[in-house]
Structure formats: structure tokens, C-alpha cells
Amino acid sequence: MIVDVHNHLGEPWGTRLHQTPDELLVKMDRARIDKAVVFPFPFGNFDNDYVARAVRAHPDRFIGFVMASPFMKEDLIDVIRHYCTDEGFRGVKLHPAAHGYKLSETGVCGEILALCSELDMPILVYTGDELYATPFQTSIAAQAYPDVTFIMAHSGFMMQTNDAVLVAQRCPNVYLEHSSGISLGVTQSVNAVGAGRVLLGSDTPHMDFEVELFKIEITVPDPVDRSLVLGGNAARLLGLN
């Protein structure tokens, strides 16, 4: 089973970025992706309901993550709880750089992290070459909430890859996802923390599945390791059959 843990769905106004459920399904079928973790684009007008409708229509293909920001209205906690319990979402997506906070500011985002701990929801968090999204900031949250799984989206992209791997080595609850990151980073991650904590992510529509699949194919030659990266780990984390 191939599971891709990073895909955006939505047709937000104010940006050229969009991806409908049907567009994503066509891409998944073309690349033989069985299941995709889906969540909104990170812009301020993010629409979790759009994603919920897609998940309801295609429960066998889509796994919902709820996009959340600490600066949502006072119903933040109710919103996350609603999607995770009523809509069957399986995790939370955080984008500190887009929403103006840092994951190290647990005074700001601690409420979300505590709820993820209570609901046993993994967090996919954007990391990259940005001051509001460094891997070290993730390590502060990961150490404060050791029973929450943090998946570092992009694994620090390019220049922060090394830090992402370092953080994963120190924090057993941190997983690495390398969408649009450097190929060498996948090798580095598997060598440092083992294939059991590395996940396939494509960040569609930013990247094509074919590119990320090929990257895993050549950087993870061992078939057992590769099947973990391509789906085994995600199935375990997300409770998929």
C-alpha cells in the first residue's frame, strides 16, 4: 500500500494554487498512490470543510488532517475536536510560517499540542529555510510533548536538512518527510534514524507524485525499508488497515 502524507485540497480565493479532489484522484491513479493525507492550503482562508467533504466522498482514498492555527477564533479547540472525532480526521497540519508563530512558542501553540496528545493525533508541521519554521523549533515542541508524533514536512527543505535529521535523532517522536527536499537528505535520514521514521510526501500540487516516488526508489534501495517509507510507516501511524 502506498500512502502519501502531504497533499493539499481546496480552491481558495486570492491564490493561483488549487487542487480539487478529482484532480488529485487522477494524479493518484496515474502514479498508483493508494491513499493520500489531505488538508487545506495554508493561506488564511483555509477551508477544512472542503477537505471534509472530499474525505466523506472518498473515504477509501483520502485521510483528512485538520489545518489549525493558534490564532483561530476562540473555538479553535472545538474545531479540531470536531474534525478529529466527528469527521474521522487522523491528524493536524500546522504551518507556523504562514500563520505567524513558531513551534517553539509553546505558550502560543501549546493548546493545540496538548489536544493532539489527548486525541492521539500526529502533527504534520511545515519546516524549511525560514525563521518561523526551523527544525530546532520543532524539537522544542517535540520534547515538551513526547507522546505526540511530529512529522517534519520537507525535512527542512535544503539548507535545514541537517538540522532536521539532528532533531529526529534526538527526538524519537519526530518523523521525516522530504517533499521537494534534497535527494541526499532521504539517504541521510534513513541512515540516521532508520527507514521506520521516514515517510513519502509529495506536497501536491507543488510537486508531482512521480518525482517523489522516484526519489524514494533511488535513495532507499532496500525493499523492506522502501515499503516502510512508501506506506508501512504511515499505515502504522495513522491506524490504516
Binding site: L17, F157, L184, H206
Partner: protein
């Protein structure tokens, strides 16, 4: 279809770079190129190691395959007229600037203008690392492109994802800016083609950090029109290297004309 990888780092680092002790000799580069079906590669030193002589020497051994580019530390070129003439004599075809590592801004006229003038005089193409720091944004490249309108500038990484739209905007406004899409996303590559067309979009892999084949898959998946693909993965950089302007015919070979 001639395939040119416009961005390959090579050399022997004195110590690990980005946590990886990458050694990449000319022979290793060539093996990787053959495996991926790449005809020619632009080679530049491993970042931070600045061993330009090693690159020049490697290109001299494989003049049909390798196109040498030098790394420039602007703080060490008090007399760029002389030092850049020397780059040209060594066979270098371009120079790369990585402002984020060396603490200057790409908009720094006082520091860079004499150096860019020397690049222009010596027919050296300039490449600007962009997109991951306020020191090297596409708008700063535009400042440079307007100051030197007849200097060919490769905007490397096309602003990465964060400044992708800004990179496309400045390419739209400045005909002397080319988008070197090395290590960018599939989406920004498609968007660039939509806005500025196929003649100023360039394939590069950032090998050995990125994989040559992975980056080719990215281009081949994103570009369905065969003519546009041919330009992006080779034709454009060859035309730029020929120095024959935007409508010149590509595919003339890669060496400096005798």
C-alpha cells in the same frame, strides 16, 4: 535532444558540507551524467569550498562534457578587472554568487557593481543563488538586472518555493533574467512556463545534493510539449552560452569557440 544539466557541484571538500562529506570528481560526475543520459554539465565547486582551480582543471580534461563555472567571493576581488580576466583565461564561462553564505546583499551596488561590470566585460554569465534568505531575493536580482541590462543572469533555484512568484515576476520584467529551476517545485516550473514561456527556463539538478535523474523526472513530468522540454533541458542554456542572443540556434557544442 541535447541534455544539459546547468547546475552540478563538484570537487573534493576539505570537510563535510551540509553534514555530507561529498567528494565528487570529474569521473564521478561523468558516470552520473551517463547514467541519466546527460550530455553536458555546468560544473561549479562544492559550496563553501571554492576550489575553482579544481573545476577548471576537470573541465580541461573533459572539454566536450563539462562547462566550468567559478564561485565568487566578492569580498576577495579588490581588482575584479584583473581577476575576472583570469577567470576567462582559465576557461570559465560563468560565475556563481551565493550571497547568503558570505554576508552581502545582491542589491549591494558598492560591492557588486565593479564585479558585475568585470563579468560583463569578460563574457561571463552570472548565476545568483536566491530564495532562502533576505540577502538573495529575486527583487534584488532585478535591481542588478536593470543596472546591467546586457548582462545575462541566471536566477538560481528560481526563488525556491517561497519566492517563486517573485522570481517569475522579475523574469517577466527583465529579459536578461533566466530562471534556473534547480531544486524548485513542479508547480513553480509549470507556472514559469505559463508566464514567461519556454525560452528562459533552465534545467539544473544541484547534483550531488539533488539527484540528476530525479530532477529530470521533474522536468519530464511537468513539461508535456516536446519543444518546450528540449529548450528547458538543454536548448536554452546552450543558446545562452553561445552568446548569440535569444533567437540563435542551439546545439553548437559547448566549448568556447576557437
Amino acid at each position: 535532444m541535447t541534455i544539459v544539466d546547468a547546475h552540478v557541484h563538484m570537487g573534493k571538500p576539505s570537510r563535510p558540507v551540509f553534514g555530507n562529506a561529498v567528494q565528487y570528481t570529474a569521473e564521478q560526475v561523468l558516470r552520473k551524467m551517463d547514467e541519466a543520459g546527460v550530455d553536458h554539465s555546468v560544473i561549479l565547486p562544492i559550496p563553501h569550498v571554492y576550489d575553482n582551480d579544481y573545476v577548471a582543471e576537470s573541465a580541461r580534461r573533459y572539454p566536450d562534457r563539462l562547462i566550468p563555472w567559478a564561485y565568487v567571493d566578492p569580498w576577495h576581488h579588490p581588482n575584479p578587472r584583473d581577476s575576472f580576466a583570469r577567470f576567462a583565461e582559465q576557461g570559465f564561462r560563468g560565475v556563481k554568487f551565493r550571497a547568503v553564505s558570505l554576508r552581502y546583499n545582491l542589491s549591494d551596488h558598492q560591492l557588486l557593481d565593479p564585479i558585475l561590470e568585470a563579468s560583463r566585460e569578460n563574457n561571463l554569465i552570472v548565476s545568483m543563488h536566491t530564495g532562502d534568505d533576505p540577502a538573495c531575493t529575486p527583487l534584488q536580482v532585478e535591481e542588478m538586472a536593470r543596472t546591467f541590462p546586457d548582462l545575462t543572469i541566471l536566477l538560481v533555484h528560481a526563488g525556491f518555493r517561497v519566492l517563486a512568484e517573485e522570481a517569475i515576476l522579475v523574469a517577466e520584467r527583465c529579459p536578461n533574467i533566466y530562471l534556473d529551476e534547480t531544486a524548485g517545485t513542479s508547480w513553480q516550473l509549470r507556472r514559469a512556463l505559463e508566464v514567461i514561456g519556454p525560452r528562459r527556463v533552465i534545467y539544473g539538478s544541484d547534483s550531488p545534493f539533488m539527484d540528476t535523474r530525479v530532477e529530470l523526472v521533474r522536468f519530464r513530468t511537468a513539461i508535456s510539449d516536446p519543444e518546450a522540454l528540449e529548450l528547458a533541458i538543454g536548448g536554452n542554456i546552450l543558446r545562452v552560452l553561445s552568446g548569440r542572443g535569444s533567437e540563435a540556434v542551439a546545439g553548437h557544442g559547448v566549448g568556447r569557440e576557437a
